[in-house]
Each structure stands twice: as structure tokens, then as C-alpha cells.
């Protein structure tokens, strides 16, 4: 670290950016403990009433949370399977159209999700009555795939393929080669991608709002619906819990894989 080389101006900018990023979070967390029904700052007193309200309110936040977790977990699991195999095939073999295939796997990242949601809605309504759970899940499987593919490709770029020959030479069949050599070595990238996918799916609102039905609503949509009617600190309370949730996920990631994988 060459701390002495950093002038006062960059320091001031860094602090301002940090404040800009953190201040809203601090306001929300403090507001969530406010006893008043309007969000005021600084809060007058302390209360856990809004946290109680999350579980008690007719907005059904809890069922939304469970639905979101379900979708995020299943979509991520499916994409680990799809994304890792797709990444392996384009990394291991050189063939015509390889780059086009990589672009295709990652294209959901570049297509505006509102466009994609609209197209998906058309397709689903043409197909007839498909439960909202499946509509949202399928949509998420598509839009979340790039995160796993990109992270897996990044670790595979430096993978030494001779290791697979070495394992085969020692008597490992292709399945054993994958589980005993390839997967353990690329695991950090896969986990990082999976976590990004999970958080993205959990947080996703554009696609879910178009594809949800009264029977199946995810948490972000519950929050948006609630916001249309009231603006009390229940939202601050639920936001605080979500911040805590994301933070825990990132700390776990840092613990097991290292955050540098996350930035790549």
C-alpha cells in the first residue's frame, strides 16, 4: 500500500461516494425502528412494531419470501447444471461457432428484461394456462444463466486440461474425472456465479411483476404492491432484513471462496 501517494482530493471523493452509498441504508435501518407510522428522520423513539407488522400484515410478506427463495434456489440449481456443462463444452472443445455460442449463453444479460418479459408473456399466454410459479421459474432460469456461465468460463480459462488426461491415465472414468478433478478446481467460480444468480433472482422484479398471478407472488412484487397503498416503516423493516440477508450471503461467500472471485 502506498498510502502516502494518495492526495486529499481522491480521499474526499472516496468518502463522498461511500457516504452516498451508505447513507440511504443507514436511514432505512434507523427508520425501521421508528415508533411513528410515517418515515421520519431522525426517528423519535424506538419500536419493533414494524417488524411485527411484516409477519402480521395482510401483505403476506412471508409467503412472498418463501416463493422468492423457492424460485431463486431452483433456478440457480438448474442453471448450475446448465451453465457448468455449457461452459465446459465451449472451453474444452474448439469448434466453429464456439464464440457465437458463448455470446448466446450470455445474451440474456444484454437483452432488456422488460422486453424479454413481454415476449415471454406472449409465449405463455399463447400456450394457455401455465402456473405463475413455472412462468417465473422459467424466466429466471434464462435471465440468471449468464452469471453462472461467465464465472465458470473465467475459472476454466486458466484450467489445465492435461489434469483430466492425468486423472484418466490413473484410472478415473469421465464421471470420476469431473467430480474428483475438474469440479473441485473450478468450484470457486461456480459458487460465486451461483450466489450472484441466487441474489439476482431473489431480487428480480421486472420479469416477476409481469408473469406473477394472485396465486403466486414473489417478495419484490409483494413489496411493490404494498408500497402502492402505504408507505409506513414496514418497508424499512423488511429492507433491513433483506440487507442482512444479502450481507450474510456475501460473508459466507467471502468465508468459503474469497471475495476476489466475486469481483472478476
Amino acid at each position: 500500500m502506498r498510502e502516502d501517494k494518495v492526495g486529499p482530493l481522491p480521499k474526499i471523493i472516496a468518502v463522498l461516494v461511500f457516504v452516498f452509498l451508505m447513507a440511504p441504508l443507514v436511514v432505512i435501518i434507523l427508520a425501521s425502528f421508528s415508533p411513528t407510522s410515517l418515515v421520519v428522520f431522525p426517528p423519535k423513539g424506538f419500536s419493533l412494531e414494524w417488524y411485527r407488522n411484516i409477519f402480521g400484515s395482510s401483505a403476506n410478506f412471508l409467503s412472498g419470501f418463501v416463493n422468492s427463495i423457492q424460485v431463486a434456489a431452483i433456478a440457480t440449481a438448474a442453471d448450475i447444471l446448465l451453465g457448468v456443462t455449457a461452459s465446459l463444452s465451449v472451453s474444452r472443445y474448439q469448434f466453429r461457432g464456439r464464440d457465437a455460442l458463448v455470446a448466446f449463453f450470455t445474451s440474456p444479460m444484454y437483452v432488456p428484461s422488460i422486453t424479454f418479459a413481454f415476449v415471454l408473456l406472449q409465449v405463455f399466454s399463447a400456450m394457455g394456462s401455465i402456473p405463475a410459479f413455472w412462468r417465473i421459474l422459467l424466466g429466471h432460469v434464462v435471465i440468471v444463466l449468464p452469471y453462472i456461465v461467465r464465472n465458470t468460463l473465467a475459472v476454466l480459462a486458466s484450467f489445465n486440461w492435461t489434469l483430466e488426461d492425468a486423472a484418466a491415465g490413473l484410472g478415473a472414468n469421465p464421471v470420476q474425472v469431473f467430480f474428483k478433478v475438474t469440479l473441485p478446481i473450478i468450484k470457486p467460480g461456480v459458487i460465486a456465479g451461483a450466489l450472484l444468480s441466487f441474489l439476482y433472482s431473489f431480487d428480480e422484479a421486472v420479469l416477476s411483476s409481469l408473469l406473477s398471478s394472485p396465486k403466486f407472488i414473489t417478495l419484490p412484487i409483494r413489496i411493490m404492491n404494498y408500497m402502492e397503498l402505504s408507505f409506513d416503516p414496514t418497508l424499512a423493516a423488511i429492507s433491513t432484513l433483506l440487507i442482512l440477508f444479502s450481507l450474510t450471503a456475501i460473508v459466507l461467500l467471502e468465508r468459503f471462496v474469497g471475495l476476489d472471485m466475486f469481483v472478476k
Partner: protein, 355 residues
């Protein structure tokens, strides 16, 4: 304990023939070196023996059993990779134990065999280290231990000494031979280094453009290369063009530009008077003599390069081209005109058109 047989083995990539109809039999317990420049097909041959590359024609057989349809993981071939290919996520112990664990051997037997093998390659005490915590020489010995511990019927070594410094090379040369002899494993070494080949192998096979040019005992290949290419590869760096002046029962006289050379008739069969030829000799076999004799030649000392164990002298004014001499006892006193002798038993002569 196995006999390895390659028959008409061929591999083409598109229009390029990497390995061209090779026949080779490696006897039980023998070490054979495949020697050649990069791209000569030696590595492709190795990969076909291991099963990583499928031949377009011909067969690989171990103990008479054809292996073409057998996948690599059922071939029982031990492979040492040039870049070692140690599993970075596994410790030394687990790297070596990898193949034994796949065989589902009892834990106790695995432990015993891994430890015996680590002792053999002198790595006892390194069990818990990861590859990145080992030196290059240690990594190489782990790779060797891993290839040997499963008691393969055939051992394949890809450039086993190329990444080592001079001192370690000499040590490992002795080690590999000791271990291979002790276990009696049929072994193939792939290398581009003639010194590595002749020092390790019982038999050297020189390859070029997918074909075998010469196969024989190291000394035979080293001293009597069958053609100018092999000669060049084996370190005959002086090629002197000339014409056969006369052939006798014992010796052949070659008239070169600016002098005559004599070679043992045994080293140049099939020559007739008037034939254009190339006479080849190693730089270390040309002798500097203090007093000229009828057989010696006069040349001008142009350049002296000290190379450690030898001194490289560059001579001009002989045969219309530079001639290089490696002298072991050069004391630096010579300059100007020198006399050199071309020992007739060290000259090999090839018809000129066959290069």
C-alpha cells in the same frame, strides 16, 4: 511387465500426417526413447499409446491384446506429463494415492504403497504439502511417484528431464533409471534431447515427419547415424561436401574442396568412386595436432568460444566452409594457422542426394 507393440500406427489431422505407419516393439522391461524435433510425431505416438488420441490406422497392443477400443482409464498405463499435471487441490499424499483410491484398495494398503513410493522418490515428510509448495524437482518426483504407484504395465515419460537444471537433471537421470530397473516396467520416453535419450534408454528411436528413421542401441545411433538428418540430430554438426575419389577394402578416400579425407570403409557402405557425398563428423572428434602429418589439414583459427567443459573453435580455410572443433584441453595458446586431424573411424559418409 508387458510387451508393447505398435503396428502400422498412423494418425492424420486433416491433410497432415502426424504419425506415419509406425512399427515398434518394446520388450518387457525395456526403456525405449522416441527422439525427434517438436512436430515429429513422438508426442502423438505417446498419446495414442495412452489412449488419449485415437489412431486412424494400425494398432496398439499390450501383451498381444489390442488396445484401440480400450479407453485410457482401463489401459493401466502410467503417464508422466511434461508439465507434471499434479492435481493442485490435492496434497502430495493424495496426488500419489489418487490412482490407488480409484482402485478401491484397502486404506491400509494405500497408505503403505504411497509411503513406499514416496520413500523411493525421496519425498518422505512431504505428504501434506500441496504442489504449489514444492520445488520443481520435488513436483517432478511426485509426478513420477504418482505414475508408478499403480504398478502400470507400461510407463510413458514425456520429456522427463526437460524442465530441470543441469544438476537436477543428472540426479534424476540416475533416479529414473534406478527406479525403472527396480520395478522392471516397460517404458517409453519421449524427448527432443539426444543426451536424455542416449543416457536413459536401452534403445533409441529417431523420428522425423511421423516416420522412424533409425532405431537401435544408443551407441549405434550415436556413432553411426543412418542418414544426414539423424547425424545432424545426434550432434554431427560438420558436414563436408565432396566426391568419392577411390574405395578400398579398409578405407574410402573423399576428395573435398581443398583437401582429401579418409574414412573407414565400414562407416560408409555402398559408395562408388565418383559419387557425390557428404562427410559428417562431430566437433569433439576433430583433433588439434601440434605437428602436421600427411593426413592432417591446415586451417586458420577464426574464433574461440569458451563453453565451460569444452572450447568451441571455429576454423576457416578448410573445404570452403567453416569447420567447428570442440576441444577439451584447449589452453588458449593457439592462434593463426593450426593443424587438425579427422580420425578416419569418426567420419561417416552419406551419398549427397539422400539428405
Amino acid at each position: 511387465m508387458a510387451v508393447l507393440e505398435l503396428k502400422n500406427l498412423t494418425k492424420t489431422y486433416g491433410g497432415f500426417t502426424a504419425v506415419d505407419n509406425i512399427d515398434l516393439t518394446v520388450r518387457d522391461g525395456e526403456i525405449v526413447a522416441l527422439l525427434g524435433e517438436s512436430g515429429c510425431g513422438k508426442t502423438t505416438t505417446l498419446r495414442m499409446i495412452a489412449g488419449f488420441t485415437a489412431p486412424n490406422g494400425g494398432t496398439v497392443a499390450v501383451d498381444g491384446r489390442e488396445m484401440n477400443q480400450v479407453p485410457p482409464y482401463r489401459r493401466n498405463v502410467g503417464i508422466f506429463f511434461q508439465n507434471y499435471a499434479l492435481f493442485p487441490h490435492l496434497s502430495t499424499y493424495d496426488n500419489v494415492a489418487f490412482g490407488l483410491k480409484l482402485k478401491k484398495l484397502p486404506r491400509e494398503e494405500i497408505r503403505r504403497r504411497v509411503e513406499d513410493m514416496l520413500e523411493l522418490v525421496k519425498l518422505t515428510g512431504m505428504e501434506k504439502r500441496f504442489p504449489r509448495e514444492l520445488s520443481g524437482g520435488q513436483q517432478q518426483r511426485v509426478a513420477l511417484a504418482r505414475a508408478l504407484v499403480t504398478e502400470p504395465s507400461v510407463l510413458l515419460l514425456d520429456e522427463p528431464l526437460s524442465n530441470l537444471d543441469a544438476k537436477l537433471r543428472a540426479e534424476m537421470q540416475v533416479e529414473i533409471k534406478r527406479i525403472q530397473r527396480g520395478l522392471g516396467i516397460t517404458t517409453i520416453i519421449v524427448t527432443h534431447d539426444q543426451e536424455e535419450a542416449v543416457s536413459l534408454a536401452d534403445r533409441v528411436v529417431v523420428m522425423q515427419k511421423g516416420k522412424i528413421l533409425q532405431a537401435g542401441e544408443p551407441k549405434a545411433v550415436f556413432d553411426h547415424p543412418v542418414n544426414p538428418f539423424v547425424a545432424d540430430f545426434m550432434g554431427f554438426s560438420n558436414f563436408i561436401p565432396g566426391t568419392v575419389a577411390e574405395t578400398g577394402p579398409d578405407q574410402v578416400k573423399i576428395q573435398a574442396d581443398g583437401g582429401a579425407l579418409y574414412a573407414d570403409a565400414a562407416n560408409c557402405p555402398g559408395l562408388r568412386a565418383g559419387m557425390p557425398v557428404q562427410a559428417a563428423i562431430r566437433p569433439e572428434n576433430i583433433r588439434l595436432v601440434t605437428e602436421g602429418t600427411p593426413e592432417s589439414h591446415r586451417a586458420r583459427l577464426e574464433n574461440v568460444t569458451y563453453k565451460g567443459n569444452v572450447t568451441r573453435l571455429s576454423l576457416t580455410g578448410l573445404f570452403g566452409q567453416p569447420v567447428y572443433v570442440h576441444a577439451h584441453d584447449y589452453d588458449g595458446s593457439l592462434e593463426g594457422e593450426v593443424s587438425v586431424l579427422f580420425p578416419r573411424d569418426k567420419l561417416v559418409v552419406y551419398p549427397a542426394d539422400k539428405s
